[in-house]
Symmetry: C2
Subunit: 497 residues, 2 copies
Amino acid sequence: MSATAKTMPSRPRKLRDVTQWDRETDVVVVGLGGAGGCAAIEAADAGAEVIVFELASAAGGSTALSSAEIYMGGSGGTRVQRACGFDDSTEDMVTYMMLSAGPQADEAKIRNYCERSSEHFQWLVDLGVPFKDSFHEERAIMCLTDDCLLYTGSEKAWPYVQQAKPCPRGHNLQVEGDNGGPLLMRILLEQVSRRDAITVEYDTRALTLIVDDNDAVVGLVVRQDQKELNVRTRQGVILCAGGFVMNEEMVRKYAPMLTKGNTPIGNPGDTGTGILMGIAVGGAAINMHEGFVSLPYYPPADMTRGIVINDKGQRFINEDVYHGRLGAFVLGQVAERIYFIVTVEQYGNYEKVSYLGAPVAGTGETVEELEQELGLHPGTLQYTLAVYNEDCARGEDSLYHKAAEWLTPLEPPLVALDITPGRGAFVPYFTLGGLDTKPSGEVVNTQGEVIPGLYAAGRTACGVVRRAEGYSSGMSVGDATFSGRLAGRQAAQAPRR
Amino acid sequence: MSATAKTMPSRPRKLRDVTQWDRETDVVVVGLGGAGGCAAIEAADAGAEVIVFELASAAGGSTALSSAEIYMGGSGGTRVQRACGFDDSTEDMVTYMMLSAGPQADEAKIRNYCERSSEHFQWLVDLGVPFKDSFHEERAIMCLTDDCLLYTGSEKAWPYVQQAKPCPRGHNLQVEGDNGGPLLMRILLEQVSRRDAITVEYDTRALTLIVDDNDAVVGLVVRQDQKELNVRTRQGVILCAGGFVMNEEMVRKYAPMLTKGNTPIGNPGDTGTGILMGIAVGGAAINMHEGFVSLPYYPPADMTRGIVINDKGQRFINEDVYHGRLGAFVLGQVAERIYFIVTVEQYGNYEKVSYLGAPVAGTGETVEELEQELGLHPGTLQYTLAVYNEDCARGEDSLYHKAAEWLTPLEPPLVALDITPGRGAFVPYFTLGGLDTKPSGEVVNTQGEVIPGLYAAGRTACGVVRRAEGYSSGMSVGDATFSGRLAGRQAAQAPRR
């Protein structure tokens, strides 16, 4: 190819311009992370011949980099939920996930996810994914023991708790330390390698889709060993190429709010090419502005007893929410500084185990002294703390509804951490927009019409998760593995061309 | 056409499927509002033969429904600015508009808009658009006299005032009452009709674009008298078909935040078809989640002396900002109620001239009584008002930086208006997302590559305005007329095919 004819994901190749086929198979999967692995396995188990193309030299995607908690429950509970005495219901799970996703929720997708969640659990178990029948009670972002079940979202926090019975749905793999992702991918890969119908080709970049005269997707152009190869598919292409968090220009253009974060979460391949290839053949991209931005302020769980204030000395959220929800609200404040106020004792615990890395902005033997040190308007923090401590004494947060279990008066000496994004605290972020798909994984155009031969799953699609303020850990890997499976099965059922 | 072969904006027609041409011209313009009118005039003046297709039975679009203030200035000022003693600078205008648009600002587009703004003023004057050399000093959403110049944004409010020298840039047409839009469109239409090179066809719906084998746009399919016509263009199609505020499904999918408004602002043709046609041929759609949502709480200007609080009794914004900025902040609050607190005297003025229509939520002979009536936590409003009134006495709003001219203590008896969106107040909204274009009006794909033969202007494109919180009146008609002109000129310069 000449330099001027660079193949771009923004322009499909026309079938009529294909002079030879270098590969041919039933189903092509782009990307071998959690979504791609599950898609390949299901497609193969449904009788399809599959080639998976992976950009990197090894499999894993962002799933391998994650804790791989998996958000599951509903319909009476998974085996683990039941063993731990939790009786989950599909309706509570649907309600919680609908609230989480907000006005842009895809109800059909969420309902399908919740209704088939226990079955998904069993499918994973059958593959060999180990879950221990145990409950991790302490508030945590991830479970560092081999225990399984934990609360990973805002289920017990206002306003969710008012509308859906809380239930822990985060399922941590039975492995010590933060090693769930590598384990999950190892198991998926072993399952992939056991299936003769699946071929994996690494170090291969997907360049663009191939479309026929009716704009149906009939193949994929890849680059391998510096050569472009045309790959013909008889049943379809499944895009499992991750999101676009590593593509700075796309983030700036589509999700500028995320630039307030400082640590993109994902693998280097998360450059949006899957999404761009889909857009180029008419796929609708939705929710592109949304992302996860978080202030992981716990552990220690004890931090939940602190309060978060803006530079007016006002609280603005119940501090027992999920850290992503807190992050979303912090970003929504028009304030030059945001502080986390804790006692000296709480600060001591924080220093030992925190991920947050927020610098100390001030300390005070009295509230007045802290107020002065932070440059707050005189009396504002004193007033906020007077109301808060009075509420703590009564056991009811009258303004922001933090649960009673976290209400203990904040008595000086106090420490203020500067959690303003951009001022030192760890603010991870990733994208939550992607191709619009049916629950089946079929990619649709702006009118909701299916684009024949094209599927998407995981972060390349816009899945059940729609915004940081309603996120719960485990929803990403849950969605990736579940949506990957559905897309794999759907593609394998398409008539062969 | 059979029912199953309905022509949709989501799928282009292939040139090879066109069996006959029903029309042929240099440049096709879709939509005869402010953008389309200016595009047609400029294209004709640059030597092109033009056909304009308008869905409605008459011209006008959303421009005719607007006040048609036009945001102009920079480079020493327009004739009116200079006559009124204002010495505007391009850099101040750029700085203000960049802050307004926020992180998703298109600097090239804004700079071009500001640098050529005085020239645009002169172009309008030369067409016959009348502007009186007078300044309307009172704070207003629109000017009901025939005076010209007024502050239409947040130029004098914090934080803008800190970074750019304020200057009024809203130019109201010389006409009594709220009749700027009809007058502007009458003048543009007269100019259109004077040009033999322009043909206008009404009652004609644009269905989809026609693309050749290289995905260049070479024509447009329209429906007229229940027949589909294929229109060949030698130079290009300019989409000036408005936004998508009237397409409920698109709003729900792309800009769900807007559903908190209750009054879509636009014409019935604002169904997004221009944007959808562009997406279907690979055009990038950006900023689709953003829109204008406003609480038009002035006039009377005196309302600016009131304070806005959430259901925690806290202020959260300086109340001297543009009403769109206030609206954006109200929507960002997680509060079950938002109140506007005014004195009985201010309420009396409000009752007489308000657009807002917010119901009274409570009244109080004392602050305590009002607090109780609103069900606020005891003491919160009392504290907020104590701080505020003390600040007013000192002449400095220490928390939110409302300008000193609006700081007068709020003394009981007080009235609280319920301005919670969805509770009776007038909350107009419109969309601010659209096709990504170069400043020239050329539509680009996700990689920034030009789609040959395709242009967009006005609300169909994503213009200089990017969000409600930084909006100023006059930016929409300013952008529509200016971007329409540029697209018309650019298309007319393309080589004829």
